[in-house]
């Protein structure tokens, strides 16, 4: 296929032009792009705050900024990265683009709600950025009371309004995915023929639906307490700050599973494709996704072991936290078993997937250390915790996101990216990541507290290593930004299925037509049938009833 053929064929990108056709679109694929641009901006804003923090931490003294300013940096870093990058990235970019395609539908169940969710996301982001511009917030992304509700002199209300509003973007997305997956699967697409990416997004949507409203109301209460002086978490009235933490973590713990489950879904797709094999134990992996989502709601108290929570409750939460590691571990075993005797290739998406498995395992295992009551007493609020969650969120979720972006880039754009640069970037990210965060395990273990801008001089070497790693990581992240944009104009034209993958999304041209499929597909085979030819698996069904 050459360029002029592509330009002549109508697809979702060229069907109409102009800003209005993008801002008023209801096409899930275009909305995915709107989100892609937005989350990328927020990623680099969050990265900017991280950069400032790591520069300060080059020296033991507080010489770059004052403590109050540093507090604002880590707060804005956390808020931006958690709510405006990690939570929306895979579901709202890859999920939006792929969920309808993978199940053989023409769009999500509620396309206008989908567009609304993006506008809501932008509105929430605007409030939060306004708060940052006005001087920021210093409560930590965790907004613990009574500091956030009474004593902080920073722009708490504006920030919680921003996060509150954005939460509805999550809720609408989850609602859309659940209804779509239940009601809009193509003929023959039974539940156990679905790609694991879909199972992962279904499980994630359960968390969106049942968890996000709780943080929404919690932030409302904090806001009301600040504005109207209601006394909900005020200790002077007999209010309980730990109660805030219960409500906050009831969502925010499952939120971390929102961040990792979609990445696991991506990894399943990548491992299968680049080993040319079915995923080992498909149904077990599917159920493991649901198990993670459900059990993930039962463990929130492990963030509160030293907060004043009862020992009784802490023990139960500790036990359940061990339990939730099991389905994650099962997935790692199943991916490894898939690799065994597979026909492995090392394209960039696969590098990200392999990196994910290793780094997620380290992050997950250190989570078990933290789930152990006795150990947590020593490492809580130290850099050990920081290293643990960055291994999962950066070594896991971000790498899953990048792997997915690279894998589906040809489908989304009709172009391939330059493979050499992509592999280089993946390697740089892997090396930079480990250099940044492994020293932090050591730092935490020997006692460096988190959220401090000063530290004892004996910790400097490890901090310098960490900052050096961060600079490599930054280069690694900037590279894809550059070559992916480059590829939009100069990349080689991609066919419908450059990876020779299975999956309905690869049975339609790249870029896809607006309605995704010219004819409604009929599915007769499960996912990942790599031992068969695609033609044996899919039959073109009746003309799409548009």
């Amino acid at each position: 296929m050459n360029l002029s053929e592509i330009e002549r064929r109508e697809h979702y990108l060229n069907v109409n032009y102009g800003i209005r056709s993008w801002l008023f679109t209801t096409d899930h694929k275009r909305i995915a792009w709107l989100y892609l641009l937005s989350v990328t901006v927020f990623f680099f804003i969050g990265g900017l705050f991280a950069t400032l923090m790591r520069i300060e931490l080059l020296t033991p003294q507080g010489d770059l900024v004052q403590a109050e300013t540093y507090n604002k940096f880590f707060t804005m870093h956390g808020v931006t990265m958690v709510f405006f990058f990690l939570i929306p990235s895979i579901p709202n970019v890859l999920g939006n683009f792929l969920v309808p395609m993978m199940i053989g539908a023409r769009d999500l169940a509620f396309p206008r709600l989908n567009l609304a969710s993006w506008y809501i996301f932008i509105l929430g982001g605007a409030f939060t950025l306004m708060a940052a511009a006005a001087g920021g917030v210093d409560t930590g992304w965790t907004f613990y009371t009574p500091y956030s509700s009474i004593y902080s002199n920073t722009h708490v209300v504006l920030t919680v309004v921003g996060v509150f509003v954005t939460g509805f973007s999550s809720i609408l997305t989850g609602l859309n995915f659940i209804v779509t997956i239940h009601k809009m699967r193509a003929p023959g697409m039974t539940w156990f023929r679905l790609p694991l990416f879909i199972w992962a997004h279904y499980a994630t949507s359960i968390i969106f639906i049942l968890g996000t409203p709780v943080i929404a109301i919690t932030l409302v209460l904090v806001g009301l307490e600040r504005i109207f002086r209601l006394g909900i978490f005020d200790p002077a009235l007999g209010g309980d700050p730990v109660l805030f933490q219960h409500l906050f973590w009831f969502y925010s713990h499952p939120a971390v599973y929102i961040m990792i489950l979609p990445a696991m879904g991506v990894v399943s797709e990548l491992i299968a494709c680049f080993s040319r094999k079915r995923i080992f134990g498909y149904s077990v992996v599917a159920f493991a996704s649901l198990a993670i989502a459900v059990i993930g709601f039962l463990v929130w108290g492990h963030h509160m072991f030293v907060a004043g929570q009862s020992v009784h409750a802490s023990m139960i939460f500790s036990l359940l936290s061990f339990l939730v590691a099991i389905p994650s571990a099962i997935k790692v075993f199943n991916w490894t078993a898939t690799l065994y005797k597979g026909s492995i290739s090392y394209d960039a998406p696969m590098l990200y997937a392999l990196g994910f498995i290793g780094l997620f395992t380290i992050g997950g295992l250190t989570g078990l250390f933290l789930a152990t009551l006795g150990i947590d007493v020593h490492v809580h609020d130290t850099y050990f915790v920081v290293a643990h969650f960055h291994y999962i969120m950066v070594g896991g979720a971000v790498m899953g996101y990048l792997g997915g972006i690279h894998f589906w880039w040809p489908k989304m754009t009709g172009r391939t990216y330059p493979e050499i640069w992509a592999r280089l970037a993946a390697l740089l990210i892997f090396v930079g990541f480990n250099l940044t965060f492994f020293p932090q395990f050591v730092l935490g273990y020997v006692g460096m507290p988190r959220r401090y801008h000063v530290y004892p001089p004996e910790f400097q070497v490890l901090n310098v290593m960490s900052t050096a790693g961060a600079s490599i990581l930054a280069v690694g992240y900037l590279l894809p930004l550059m070559y992916l944009i480059w590829s939009l104009r100069y990349g080689a034209v991609a066919g419908a299925n450059p990876w020779r993958a299975r999956g309905l999304e690869w049975q339609t041209p790249s870029p896809p037509p607006t309605e995704n499929f010219d004819r409604t597909p009929t599915v007769t085979e499960g996912a990942y049938a790599y031992e068969k030819d695609p033609e044996e698996i899919y039959t073109l069904g009746k003309p799409a009833h548009v």
Binding site: I150, A236, H246, F250, L298, S310, H312
Partner: protein, 110 residues
Amino acid sequence: MSSKPVVSVRVYVLVFLALLVLTAVTTTIAFFDLGGGVNNAAALTIAVCKAVLVILYFMHVRYSDRLTWVFVAAGFFWLLILIGGTMDDVLTRQEISRASETPPAQLQRR
């Protein structure tokens, strides 16, 4: 749902009357001290009954498919997880003294 039967007016009227009666009952009981947590339990039980009537009949769940039931149940079940986990902590704290009705005098409202 088009495949669902139209619920009759008679059913609606009966449910409506039942709801009013239950409201009267719960209001009346409140004036009598039934000891222990009985008042509490009674009020909550009656509220649950009223909610169930609204859900089953006014909201047609009685005539809906299983998927609907799952989501109805899930919402309330998850709320129980939140309340249960929080109350477990609250009920098992070994507090030397709860501030009880009067928090320490030193704590001033800002």
